[in-house]
């Protein structure tokens, strides 16, 4: 047995030595920014196609746009980027951009009006999911030759009717407005796909960074563009690593192996806050948490029941417990900081009131199903709803599924109640007004699956026309007032109970400065970051 004992002792010793001799470094290199985030939603890097959060985070740092937001002064609204200036025609339908001179793509090609023309036309012709952001102005694959036109150093876009200029320009700040390098993209075209296949995994922009590698579900590595027209970024490499668990992100942050942790839950935020060298930032984002009631359901379509449900949510309780610091009560479809946003939140948990309303509607013993995707905070919200609904005699059965599973049923009008989140697509009130309160054709055949009102079989009770009117109103103040009115009516009558707006809490190492996640209107910017 001695040989064995010796063998095992050696093995154990060997392990111990190997393990303890590993060096541990306390911080990341000074010219490198390392971020932990959930990036499993990236499916493509092509700006004409990219539409998810983590994808926008990459795109914003790679592609310049005609107009863009200054990360250090978001409140100023859109600013010149690749377009130096612009003029609006008399009839308000045409906007002519003058391109900035001397800006180069990563390939070394100059950024020209032809590139801008190609990029916007390309987005319309490819007609991927986010294309509606552009096509809502009347651009079609057939008419882009006339409506999106370069002439020397200028680019003119012509919309089908007069829209608020701010609406058009705000839409151009979305990911789909990214300007790609025409020569490079066309060189990689295959089967007439306008370089779509190639751009899914490669980049050809003029922004502060280029993507060096994207390993799905693992990491995105970006290197800086030393010729960036606003100056070479201080962080020469930015690595975003996919880390699923909040606890793991926190450990990495506290050990100094990463600079920024983006998915810490309230408990880990509280824990990390007390660690020396770690700072916590709060940033209000555009994402809303809401529940909606299917209007095909005989009971849920009664106005009193819709009202009652809004009194059956423990807003305060949730905000102050498991959502603490990460969601704030918000009962309107326009996120705070948006034009026309209001901050009136009249509903509170009121069981008696709800019971009254239910009795008035003659509803008792209601049993309904809510669909929730598999995410812990949402499951907890659903359980809290289940608890308060039960106090008014409503049985709420929770069905948890993968995101796609629940979404497919929601889009098919197959759920009684949906509980989920909605993020704005571009920084203009139309983005949410045009989906929550807009449904021109409520018939099954319309298949307007992109519209939340349609998914809930809600004809909007006249709000559709008001939304149409607001979107073409040129006067900013009048337009804001129109949204106030729409929301006041929506709040009371709609089968949507908007619950919360997201606050993103980021844990960062104290020496990281100037990191802005993009607020409610855009995505993260790495180029101003220093440490």
């Amino acid at each position: 047995m001695n040989a064995l004992n010796r063998l095992m002792t050696t093995a154990a010793l060997g392990l111990a030595v190997a393990v303890t001799s590993v060096p541990s470094w306390a911080e990341t290199p000074a010219n490198m920014l390392v971020i932990a985030n959930r990036i499993d939603d990236i499916t493509t890097l092509d700006p004409a196609e990219s539409f998810e959060f983590a994808g926008s985070d990459v795109s914003r740092n790679v592609y310049g746009k005609l107009v863009n937001f200054d990360p250090l002064n978001m409140g100023a609204g859109y600013q010149p980027d690749l377009a130096e200036s612009w003029t609006v025609s008399e009839d308000g339908k045409s906007i002519t951009f003058t391109m900035r001179e001397g800006v180069k793509f990563h390939s070394g090609n100059p950024v020209t009006a032809q590139d801008a023309e190609y990029s916007l036309r390309r987005a319309v012709i490819l007609n991927k999911t986010p294309a509606f952001i552009l096509t809502q102005f009347g651009f079609t694959p057939e008419n882009v030759e006339q409506t999106i036109k370069a002439d020397g150093n200028t680019l003119t876009i012509t919309t089908d009717k007069r829209y608020a200029t701010s609406f058009v320009l705000n839409c151009l700040t979305a990911t789909i407005g990214g300007i790609v390098d025409m020569k490079t993209v066309m060189a990689n075209e295959a089967d007439g796909d306008m370089g779509n296949t190639w751009l899914k995994t490669n980049t050809a922009g003029s922004g502060a960074y280029t993507v060096q590698s994207w390993k799905p579900n693992d990491s995105v590595t970006m290197v800086s563009n030393p010729d960036f027209y606003l100056g070479a970024p201080a962080m020469e490499r930015v690595i975003v690593r996919h880390v699923q668990e909040s606890a793991t992100q926190r450990l990495l942050l506290e050990r100094g192996d990463i600079d920024v942790a983006r998915n810490l839950n309230p408990e880990d935020i509280a824990g990390a806050r007390s660690v020396a060298g770690v700072a916590i930032d709060d940033e209000l984002r555009g994402r809303l948490m809401y529940i909606s009631l299917n209007q095909n359901h005989p009971e849920l379509s009664k106005p009193q029941v819709r009202q009652a449900i809004k009194y059956l949510v423990d807003y305060e309780g949730m905000q102050n417990s498991f959502l603490n610091g990460q969601y704030t009560i918000h009962q309107n479809f326009l996120p705070q900081t948006y034009l026309g946003a209001v901050n009136e939140n009249p509903f509170t948990l009121n069981i008696d009131k709800a019971k009254e309303l239910l009795a008035e509607a003659g509803v008792s013993g209601l049993e309904i199903e809510v669909g929730v995707r598999e995410a812990q905070e949402r499951i907890e919200i659903a359980q809290s709803l289940q608890n308060t609904f039960a106090q008014a005699g409503i049985t709420l059965n929770i069905t948890v599924g993968t995101a796609k599973q629940i979404l497919a049923r929601y889009r098919a009008r197959d759920l009684d109640v949906y509980m989920g989140a909605w993020g704005p697509d571009y920084p203009d009130p139309q983005t949410n007004a045009g989906t929550f309160a807009y449904n021109p054709d409520n018939s099954v055949e319309a298949q307007a699956t992109g519209l939340l009102a349609w998914r809930n079989a809600w004809d909007t009770g006249g709000l559709t026309e008001k939304v149409d009117a607001a979107v073409v109103e040129g006067d900013r103040e009048v337009r804001a007032q129109m949204y106030h009115d729409i929301q006041a009516e929506f709040r009371e009558t709609a089968p949507f109970a908007i619950l919360f707006q997201k606050i993103e809490q980021t844990g960062r190492s104290e020496n990281v400065k100037n990191l802005t996640l993009g607020g409610a209107i855009t995505a993260v910017s790495y180029w101003p970051v220093t440490k």
């Binding site: 303890t20 390993k215 796609k404 889009r411 697509d425």
Partner: protein, 328 residues
């Protein structure tokens, strides 16, 4: 198993996976176009994926492509599935191999001692150690291990395969960072990678140890009660020689089978470990793909894992035939 039956099994495996993928109410189109997509965008992708064709036709196309070495492209990230697998499989292979190594190095001696000293305290301890291993929820153990050894003590590297600073530093030859860094002669990376792999590998190793040690013990017990052992003892052979030169020699083939099985289990069963340790391996690859209905990726991954399972089985069958006199 003959070549024919392997083919049939593989085809069946593919077919079942294929059917599961198609009847699953997770919509692959939604994974691509996202929540906001209009009906026309949706339909365009639907037809592009060939989902409008009958199931059998789709299956036939798929098999045809696979036979030509084309696993298709991932619906989600637009890369060839074969490339993805080439990237994620070595990560799992590395982890599972080290895990099995731990299992063998510690489990075999433990099993032998337990059998030799049957009923003694050491046998009881070995039994408890193994059964505890069988009974532990790995995700809990993994999180606790990370907390203690990485978070508090700082003895091991954190989640992921190497520290972020060392990502892509050594050229990828085998895809296994430990081996690549040796080839490159870069010992800093080797140390770093080792510090990252040690904890998840030890965890997997513990499970492997549990299985291997229990199996070793019962094989040894069977041998030790055999007549020839008694004969050897009567002849005055030393106990050590009896155990190692006779009994242990006779269980080698059985042991290899067990180890092969344990290896196969670790290769496919490390999903939860991979999630907790942010390990970009094939287990989490298939799981993620499955939950977003990325069927090409699921099929590709399943083929690889299934093939390895079958190959390991054939391998141990062969060993039996060659070395075990009882199996004719």
């Amino acid at each position: 198993m003959t070549f024919g039956s392997v083919t049939v099994t593989m085809l069946g495996l593919l077919f079942v996976t294929f059917i599961i993928g198609r009847v699953m109410p997770i919509d692959p189109v939604l994974s691509i176009v996202g929540e906001r997509a209009s009906k026309s965008t949706y339909d365009a992708v639907y037809n592009q994926l060939g989902l409008d064709k009958p199931l059998l036709v789709q299956f036939f196309y798929y098999i045809w492509d696979v036979l030509h070495g084309d696993f298709g492209t991932s619906l989600l990230n637009a890369r060839p599935v074969a490339d993805d697998i080439r990237r994620v499989f070595p990560a799992t292979l590395e982890l599972a191999s080290l895990g099995v190594l731990f299992g063998i190095v510690l489990g075999v001696p433990l099993g032998v001692i337990a059998a030799v000293r049957r009923g003694s305290w050491i046998d009881q301890i070995a039994r408890v150690v193994a059964l505890v291993g069988y009974s532990m929820p790995i995700f809990w153990l993994g999180l606790m291990g990370l907390l203690v050894f990485y978070g508090i003590l700082g003895w091991v590297g954190g989640p992921g395969r190497v520290g972020i600073f060392y990502v892509d530093v050594v050229p990828s030859v085998t895809g296994m960072i430990l081996i690549d860094s040796i080839i490159d002669g870069n010992w800093t990376v080797f140390k770093d990678a080792f510090s990252h792999i040690i904890l998840p590998a030890s965890l997997l190793g513990y499970y492997s140890l549990a299985y291997v040690s229990r199996m070793t013990r019962s094989f040894m017990l069977e041998q030790l009660s055999a007549e020839y052992i008694t004969t050897a003892r009567v002849k005055g052979m030393s106990e050590r020689a009896v155990i190692w030169r006779h009994a242990f020699r006779n269980i080698r083939v059985q042991l290899i089978t067990v180890i092969a099985l344990s290896y196969a289990n670790l290769l496919e069963g490390s999903v939860l470990t991979e999630i907790i340790f942010s390990w970009p391996g094939i287990g989490s690859y298939i799981t993620t793909a499955l939950l977003s209905a990325d069927m090409n990726a699921v099929l590709g991954g399943t083929v690889v894992v299934g093939l390895i399972f079958i190959l390991l089985n054939i391998f141990s069958d062969l060993l039996y035939r060659v070395f075990d006199p009882r199996a004719k």
